[in-house]
């Protein structure tokens, strides 16, 4: 529907544009036609023919007056009228663009005839003397016979002009009607376009409000789910702690001696209750950090101490995993401002991951030192590595490279996402380098305490630090 809608809209826009162009062209040609009509008036065929007839009339009139006794005139005046008639005849002969008006009509023969008469009678006119009534009468007779044909010719020219005008007016009428229809069409198209835009905007409004509703619902659902998980985990923690405690007591022999078989079973149960408790803690931590409820207590601490503590806490797993931890910690203190509990959690996460994914018999190499304005922790393993396809998802929650790995090596898949959250709360950044079957190195960089105020500026300036 949308594509067809769009095409329709563009068609209308195009129609409006084309119509506008046509109206523009139409108006220009209308104007030129109007100009032509008005310019016809002075130099047009009617005007030319009329002038010739008029001057013929004045000439013959001057001849008549020459012979009359009431209002006599001079021979010079007769010659003057003759000259003017001569000039008007020449104009009529030239006509427009070399063609006399109504040249094809029978009446047009008067031009040639009058021309011949002018030439024929010229000597008489030139030699006319005052009082020579006889010659004047001859001249009058010679020219009076052209009065009617000249009038006929004027009428013929008028007819021709009328036909031309009619054509022009018909064209004009057609053009103006076309203009009206085009304008109407444009009006309708514009209206249609306005309606289309209105409908479309209403449609988009509805869509976006529906989308907003959906988003709101999704958010509510997600929050409800989070709360549910949080509540369940919390409820699970108490019985798990109780089970773990009981199993601990049994294993410690405080509840009486056990046979070797039973002891092995209790060990297994105790280990698994440990894992269960850790899992529940992870889930709770994660939900808290998602909700921004994870509590942090920032204090000046030594990052090297933090790493040492985390390494010591994980020594217990060395034997079980068959992997050794080797620490190379800076002798000098690496002062930072941070929450040592969360930072130990972060380093422990990295260590347990490194040990889990290491090949047996290899060691995990941990360093902590100053690098520029940062304290840097590196955890390097010689293990399975992270496949390229999975690299982008390392810090996403609930993910491990291989679904089956989850079973084999344990863990919730929340560890890395919690680690990232903790690093970012400390204005630090975390990244890794990895090669499949060679190993992985995770790096955490945290800003040093003594240069924190300027470093704060740097943090804001360098997107790497802010977005890592």
């Amino acid at each position: 529907m949308n594509a067809r809608f769009k095409a329709f809209r563009w068609t209308i826009v195009l129609t409006i544009l084309v119509t506008l162009c046509m109206i523009g062209i139409g108006l220009v040609s209308l104007q030129s036609q109007l100009d032509e009509l008005s310019s016809n008036k002075r130099s047009g065929p009617t005007w030319i023919a009329n002038q010739m007839e008029f001057e013929l009339l004045r000439f013959t009139q001057s001849l008549a007056r020459f012979t009359s006794e009431t209002t006599p005139t001079t021979a010079e005046n007769v010659r003057f009228r003759f000259d003017i008639l001569w000039s008007r005849h020449a104009v009529a002969e030239d006509g427009q663009a070399g063609r006399p008006a109504a040249a094809d009509s029978e009446a047009a023969t008067v031009i040639a005839a009058l021309g011949q008469e002018l030439v024929r009678q010229e000597p008489l006119v030139v030699s006319l003397r005052d009082g020579d009534y006889q010659t004047a009468a001859t001249l009058f007779q010679a020219f009076a016979q052209y009065l009617d044909p000249a009038h006929e010719y004027t009428l013929a020219a008028k007819d021709e002009q009328a036909v031309a005008d009619l054509t022009a007016r018909t064209d004009l009428l057609f053009m103006s009607q076309l203009m009206v229809y085009l304008s109407l069409a444009m009006g309708v198209a514009s209206l249609l376009l306005a309606v289309l835009f209105f409908v479309e905007s209403r449609f988009h409004e509805k869509m976006s409000s529906e989308n907003a509703d959906l988003l709101e619902k999704a958010k509510i659902a997600y929050k409800a789910k989070s709360q549910f998980i949080s509540t369940i985990s919390h409820e699970l923690r108490t019985p798990v702690t109780s089970i773990k405690g009981t199993l601990g007591l049994m294993r410690g022999g405080l509840l009486g001696e056990m046979g070797p078989k039973m002891r092995r079973m209790v060990d297994i149960a105790h280990d698994n209750s440990d894992r269960l408790a850790a899992l529940i803690n992870d889930i709770l931590d994660f939900e808290k950090s998602e909700a921004g409820e994870l509590a942090y207590t920032f204090l000046p601490i030594d990052l090297a101490d933090v790493v040492r503590e985390a390494v010591e806490a994980n020594r217990g797993f060395e034997a079980r995993q068959g992997v050794r931890l080797r620490l190379d910690a800076s002798e000098d203190a690496i002062p930072i401002k941070g929450d040592s509990f969360r930072l130990v959690q972060l380093v422990s996460n990295l260590l347990s991951n490194a040990m889990k994914f290491s090949h047996k018999g290899h060691e995990v190499f941990v360093t902590v030192r100053r690098v520029g304005h940062m304290g840097r922790i590196e955890v390097q393993d010689h293990g399975v590595g992270i496949p390229d396809a999975f690299k982008d998802a390392v810090f996403d929650r609930f993910t491990q490279a291989d679904g089956s790995n989850t079973r084999k090596v344990g863990g919730t898949g929340l560890g890395m996402s919690i680690s990232k959250a903790i690093t970012e709360r400390h204005r630090g950044r975390i990244w890794f380098q990895s090669e499949v079957n060679v190993g992985t190195t995770f790096v955490v960089e945290l800003p040093l305490l003594d240069i924190e105020p300027p470093a704060l500026e740097l943090v804001q300036d360098e997107p790497l630090l802010a977005s890592a």
């Binding site: 100009d35 310019s39 002075r42 130099s43 002038q51 008029f54 001057e55 010079e76 010659r79 003057f80 000259d83 003017i84 001569w86 000039s87 008007r88 020449a90 010229e122 000597p123 030139v126 030699s127």
Partner: protein
């Protein structure tokens, strides 16, 4: 021979007729506001600092050289752009020329065409000429109406 004499006679008389009628009447108000009328012969007009213009127009087949005084020089008082000049032809045809055009362009009252007097039988004795060839904007057909031939009178019509 007979023809030759006749032709010579015609030429002689024609020239006489032309010179007899070749008078331009200029009507305008003097400083006191009274209407004054002056008559100029072709010779007098040619004495008035004539200008030469070579131009073409719709009534000519090829460019010609026209000589005559500037139309604006015929008016003694200072010509204003809002004034107009009423021009009259021998056949009593009248039209108005906006003074602004006479001020902006070298509009002349041509007395000579290619150094010769113009005959009454062809656009003479005087013809209003616009410098159309030098000013393409004047080549609009609307300006043809201003090219009054057989000019006999010029009258200043003061503007508002």
């Amino acid at each position: 021979m007979k023809h030759f004499i006749a032709a010579a006679a015609i030429g002689l008389f024609a020239a006489q007729v032309a010179s007899a009628q070749a008078i331009l009447t200029v009507v305008q108000n003097d400083a006191a506001g009274n209407q004054v009328s002056k008559e100029y012969t072709a010779e007098q007009l040619l004495d008035m600092d004539p200008v030469e213009i070579t131009t073409m127009n719709d009534y000519l087949d090829a460019p010609h050289v026209f000589t005559g005084p500037l139309l604006r020089d015929l008016i003694d008082t200072e010509l204003k752009a809002t004034d107009s000049i009423e021009v009259t032809a021998l056949n009593d045809y009248k039209t108005k020329i906006p003074a602004a055009e006479a001020l902006k362009y070298d509009v002349i009252v041509a007395v000579l065409q290619d150094g010769e007097r113009m005959s009454l039988r062809d656009k003479g004795p005087f013809w209003v000429i616009y410098p159309m060839s030098d000013n393409p904007e004047l080549q609009d057909p609307g300006f043809n109406d201003r090219l009054i031939w057989q000019l006999s009178g010029v009258k200043l019509v003061p503007g508002e």
